[in-house]
C-alpha cells in the first residue's frame, strides 16, 4: 500500500515540476525556417536568460507553416515579460518584417511529458449492435470533418492571407525603394542642385 503511495507521490512531484517548467516556457511561432537554436538564444539573451530552446517538429501541418519553438526561461517573470513585450512591439528575428509571436506554453505542446498522476484511462469497444454505435460513428465522422476543416482553413485561408500580405508588402517596399533610389540618384548626380539653382530654391542638405 505504502509503495503505491510512494509512487503516486513521486509521479505527482514530477508532474508538478513539469508544470512549473511549462509556466516558465514561452511558445514562439512565426519563426523563419532559417532560425536556429543559437540565433533564437542570442536574440533573446539581450533581454532574458534562456535556459533551453526546443523546436517543435512539424509532422502533420502543412509544410509552409512557419516554425515554432518552445523557449524555456530562467524565471517565470522573464517568461511573462517577454510575452508582454512581444505583444506590444514587434520583435524581429531573421525574418523581416514578420514579427515573432509569443504566448504562454501549454502542457500539450511539450513532447516528453510525464504522465498526469492519478489519471485512469478506460476504454471500451462498441459493436454495431450497441445503441451508441451510431452516435460514436457520427463522432468519428465529425472528427474527420473537423480535421479537414482545419486543414482547409490552414492551407487556403491562413497561408493564402500570409502570402498575400507578404506580396503586398514586397510591392510596397519595392515602390518605396524605387522612390528612394530616384531621389538618391537625383541628389547624387547634381541634377537636384542644378535645378535648385535654376529655380533659386535654397537646397539644404538635411
Amino acid at each position: 500500500m505504502s509503495m503505491r503511495r510512494l509512487l503516486m507521490a513521486a509521479s505527482a512531484e514530477e508532474y508538478a515540476a513539469f508544470e512549473e517548467r511549462v509556466r516558465r516556457t514561452v511558445y514562439m511561432d512565426n519563426l523563419s525556417p532559417q532560425v536556429t537554436e543559437n540565433v533564437l538564444k542570442a536574440a533573446l539573451d539581450q533581454f532574458v536568460n534562456v535556459v533551453n530552446v526546443q523546436f517543435i517538429p512539424n509532422y502533420i501541418n502543412p509544410q509552409s507553416l512557419p516554425r515554432a519553438a518552445l523557449v524555456e526561461m530562467e524565471t517565470l517573470n522573464q517568461a511573462s515579460a517577454i510575452i508582454a513585450e512581444m505583444a506590444d512591439s514587434p520583435f524581429m528575428v531573421l525574418g523581416m518584417p514578420r514579427p515573432v509571436r509569443a504566448r504562454t506554453a501549454e502542457v500539450e505542446m511539450f513532447d516528453s511529458r510525464p504522465k498526469k498522476p492519478g489519471r485512469k484511462i478506460t476504454y471500451k469497444w462498441l459493436d454495431p449492435e450497441d445503441p451508441d454505435f451510431e452516435v460514436a460513428r457520427k463522432i468519428k465522422v465529425l472528427t474527420r470533418k473537423h480535421a479537414s476543416e482545419t486543414e482547409f482553413l490552414l492551407n487556403q485561408h491562413q497561408l493564402k492571407e500570409e502570402e498575400n500580405l507578404a506580396n503586398q508588402q514586397l510591392e510596397t517596399l519595392k515602390a518605396h525603394y524605387k522612390k528612394y533610389e530616384l531621389i538618391d540618384a537625383v541628389l547624387s548626380d547634381n541634377t537636384a542642385k542644378k535645378l535648385a539653382d535654376r529655380y533659386r530654391i535654397p537646397l539644404s542638405d538635411a
Partner: protein, 606 residues
C-alpha cells in the same frame, strides 16, 4: 573428479524451476525439469555450466544432462564433464590443444559425470562444438566469436585416450545433445521500452522467467535499469538472439537489456526520443558482456523511423485522443486494446490544433498489424475514456525535407545582389525590436493585425467544432448513465501472471470474483487496483491452490466479493499481492508468455 562439498551460501540465491519434464518413475517423488532459473540466470537442459569446487582456482565446466528435484526437495543435477587441457595434461602427449579447447568426457569410469547439488552451479558457459562429425551442425562465425570454449575431441576416462570420434552415446545421453543444434537465428529489432516482454517461445523446453524488482518505481526508465547481477549499464543496442530448440546444446546468446529511453537521446529531437527500441527480452546474461560492443546498433531517431514506417505501411495516425495523453500512455492503450507492441508519439499542440483533440502517430511492427487495427477501428468503435471514439487512419507525415516556404521575409532583390557593408548587414539581420519610425514598423504592424485576425478565425472555428462535438457526446451520455469501461493500466507498473480461464464457480449469486495471486518466493508489491477501481468486496471464502502454471509455481487465492465491503481490507490482510478482478461471465483471459509480465488486464467496473 572430486565430489563437491556442499557449498555454503552466504545469502539465499534466487531460484525457481522452469519447465517440468517428467516424473521419475523408479523413484517416487522425483520430478525432472527442463529448465530452471538460479540467481537470475536461466539454465536449460544440456546447457554448459561452470561449477566451482572449494579447492580449485578455476571452475569446472560441465554439461547439464539431467535436472531433478528429489522427494526431499533437494535439487540435483547430473553433469557430464569437459576437461581442460591441464587436467589431462598427463595423457595428452604430443597433442597440442587449442587455446580455448576443452575435451568432452566419454567412455565409462570415474570422472565422466557427477551428480551434484544444483547450488554448485555458478554460471553459464558457452561451449561450441567444432567437430567435423556429420551429426554436428557447424557453428557460424558469430558462434565462434561468442564461444567461451570450443571442443571437438573427447577424452575417454576409461582408456585415458583423446580421440576425435564420437560414440553414439555419452554417459547415457545421445550424442546429438552434445553437438551444436541447428539454431534458429532470430534478430529482435523492436521492443517496447515500456515493459519487458519475453519471447513467446513455442518450444516447451524453454521457459524464460524474468524476475524483476520493478516494484520500486513506476517510471519506465527505472524499470528498464534493473540491476541484474552480471549486467553492466548499457544503453541501446540490438542483439541477435539464438533461440535454442529442445535438443540444442549451445546457447550462443547475446544479451539484451532494456534501455533507459530517457538517457540516450537523438540530439535534435525534442526531449523524449520515443523511437528508442531495444531488445526487451531480458535474457539471462552471460559474462561475455563487453565483447558484444561490436554488435551495437544505433537506434534511429523518431523521424527516420516514422518515415520508414510510413513507407512500409506500418504508420497509423490515431485521432480524437485526449490531448493530455502522453506517448507512453498511447502505447499502453494500443497494447491493451490490440495486444500489440508499438511505438507512439503524441503530436504536439500548435495554436492551430483543436483544443480537446489529440493526435498520435503510432508505428506498428508489421503492415498487417496496422491493417488489422485500422479495420477494427473502422468496423467497431473504440471509445476511450469519456466518450471519445478513436479514429485511426493512415496518414503521411509531412516530409521535412521539402524546403519550406516562409512568407514575410522580404528583402529588396537589388540590395541582395549589391555588396552591403558589413555593419549594414549586421544591423539588418540582428534580432531587434522594430522602431516605430521605420517602414519596417509599418509592415510589422500589418503582420500583427493579420495575426490578430487569424487568431479570431481560429477561435471561431474551434468553438463551432467544440459545439458540434459536445452535442454528439451528450447523446452518448444519455445512453450510459453509469460509466462502464475497461481500465487501461500502465504496463510499466504492473507485473503479474494471468491465469488462463481458471474461473472457479462459486455457489450463489456472485457479483464479482477477485483472484489474488502472487508468485511464490517473490511477492510483487503492486499497487492495488482495487483502490483504483474503487471496488468493495466481502471476503467469503478462499481457496488456495498451489499450481505450477507453465512451470512457475504460484499461489492462487480466490475471494468472493460483493460490493458492500472494502476489498482494501482483504488486501491488506494478505500483504501486498496482485489483484485481479473479473466478472463471472467474463473469464479471466489473457495469455502467459512464461514470465511475470502483464498482458491484458480487463475488468469491468461500475
Amino acid at each position: 573428479m572430486p565430489n563437491f562439498l556442499e557449498l555454503k551460501e552466504e545469502e539465499a540465491l534466487e531460484f525457481s524451476w522452469g519447465h517440468k519434464r517428467c516424473l521419475g518413475g523408479t523413484y517416487n517423488g522425483v520430478q525432472f525439469y527442463d529448465s530452471f532459473t538460479y540467481d537470475g540466470i536461466n539454465y536449460s537442459l544440456y546447457d554448459c555450466v561452470y561449477m566451482w569446487a572449494d579447492d580449485q582456482r578455476e571452475p569446472y565446466i560441465g554439461k547439464l544432462v539431467k535436472i531433478w528435484e528429489t522427494a526431499s526437495h533437494k535439487k540435483k543435477v547430473k553433469v557430464v564433464w569437459f576437461f581442460r587441457p591441464i587436467e589431462i595434461a598427463h595423457w595428452l602427449g604430443d597433442i597440442k590443444p587449442l587455446k580455448t579447447e576443452i575435451f568432452l568426457a566419454t567412455g565409462e569410469g570415474k570422472g565422466l559425470f557427477n551428480l551434484n547439488p544444483l547450488e554448485a552451479i555458478s554460471g553459464k558457459c558457452k561451449v561450441v562444438c567444432v567437430s567435423k562429425d556429420p551429426r554436428n551442425a557447424q557453428p557460424t562465425e558469430d558462434d565462434l566469436r561468442n564461444a567461451d570454449y570450443i571442443f571437438y575431441r573427447t577424452f575417454d576416462v576409461g582408456s585415458c585416450k583423446v580421440s576425435t570420434a564420437f560414440a553414439d552415446q555419452v554417459a547415457g545421453i545421445e550424442v546429438k545433445h552434445y553437438f551444436n543444434s541447428r539454431k534458429v537465428q532470430k534478430s529482435i529489432l523492436d521492443t517496447e521500452n515500456v515493459a519487458n516482454f519475453p519471447v513467446k517461445d513455442g518450444t516447451p523446453a524453454r521457459v524464460k522467467t524474468k524476475f524483476s524488482d520493478t516494484s520500486a518505481s513506476t517510471d519506465v526508465p527505472e524499470i528498464q535499469a534493473q540491476k541484474r547481477r552480471k549486467v553492466e549499464g548499457s544503453l541501446g543496442y540490438k542483439e541477435k538472439l539464438d533461440v535454442k530448440d529442445p535438443f540444442g546444446k549451445n546457447i550462443s546468446m547475446s544479451k539484451g537489456v532494456n534501455i533507459n529511453d530517457k538517457a540516450s537521446k537523438d540530439p535534435h529531437q525534442l526531449g523524449q526520443n520515443k523511437g528508442m527500441k531495444s531488445d526487451s527480452q531480458v535474457m539471462e546474461v552471460t559474462s561475455r558482456l563487453d565483447t558484444d560492443s561490436s554488435k551495437w546498433f544505433k537506434i534511429q531517431s523518431w523521424d527516420d523511423r516514422m518515415n520508414a514506417a510510413h513507407e512500409k505501411g506500418t504508420l497509423v495516425l490515431f485521432e480524437n485522443l485526449d490531448p493530455s495523453y502522453t506517448s507512453t500512455e498511447v502505447e499502453d492503450i494500443v497494447f491493451h486494446v490490440f495486444n500489440q507492441q508499438v511505438s507512439a508519439k503524441m503530436i504536439q499542440h500548435s495554436p492551430f490544433s483543436r483544443p480537446n483533440y489529440g493526435q498520435a502517430f503510432v508505428i506498428f511492427k508489421t503492415r498487417d498489424a496496422a491493417d488489422v487495427v485500422i479495420s477494427q477501428l473502422k468496423r467497431r468503435c473504440l471509445m476511450l475514456g469519456d466518450r471519445r471514439p478513436v479514429v485511426g487512419r493512415r496518414a503521411k507525415p509531412t516530409d521535412p525535407r521539402n524546403p519550406p516556404k516562409f512568407f514575410g521575409h522580404i528583402s529588396i532583390p537589388k540590395l541582395r545582389l549589391q555588396k552591403q557593408h558589413e555593419d549594414m548587414r549586421n544591423a539588418v539581420s540582428t534580432p531587434h525590436y522594430s522602431q516605430s519610425n521605420t517602414v519596417e514598423f509599418d509592415m510589422a504592424m500589418e503582420w500583427c493585425s493579420l495575426y490578430g485576425r487569424s487568431k479570431l478565425w481560429w477561435e471561431t472555428l474551434h468553438q463551432e467544432q467544440a459545439k458540434e462535438t459536445e452535442a454528439l457526446r451528450n447523446e452518448i451520455k444519455i445512453h450510459h448513465p453509469n460509466e462502464q469501461g475497461y481500465l487501461v493500466f500502465p504496463l510499466s507498473f504492473y507485473n503479474f501472471l494471468l491465469l488462463k480461464g481458471q474461473l472457479l464457480p462459486f455457489p450463489g449469486s456472485i457479483y464479482q470474483i477477485l483472484i489474488a495471486m502472487h508468485l511464490s518466493g517473490s511477492c510483487i508489491a503492486v499497487a492495488l487496483m482495487t483502490r483504483a477501481l474503487n471496488v468493495a468486496g466481502r471476503f467469503v471464502s478462499a481457496t488456495v491452490y498451489r499450481e505450477a502454471y507453465m512451470g512457475v509455481p504460484f499461489f492462487c487465492t480466490v475471494y468472493e466479493v460483493t460490493p458492500t465491503h472494502r476489498v482494501g481490507h482483504i488486501v491488506q490482510a494478505l500483504g501486498s499481492k496482485v489483484i485481479y478482478k473479473c466478472l463471472e461471465d467474463v473469464p479471466i483471459f489473457g495469455h502467459v508468455d512464461g514470465a511475470a509480465s502483464m498482458h491484458i488486464i480487463s475488468s469491468k467496473y461500475t
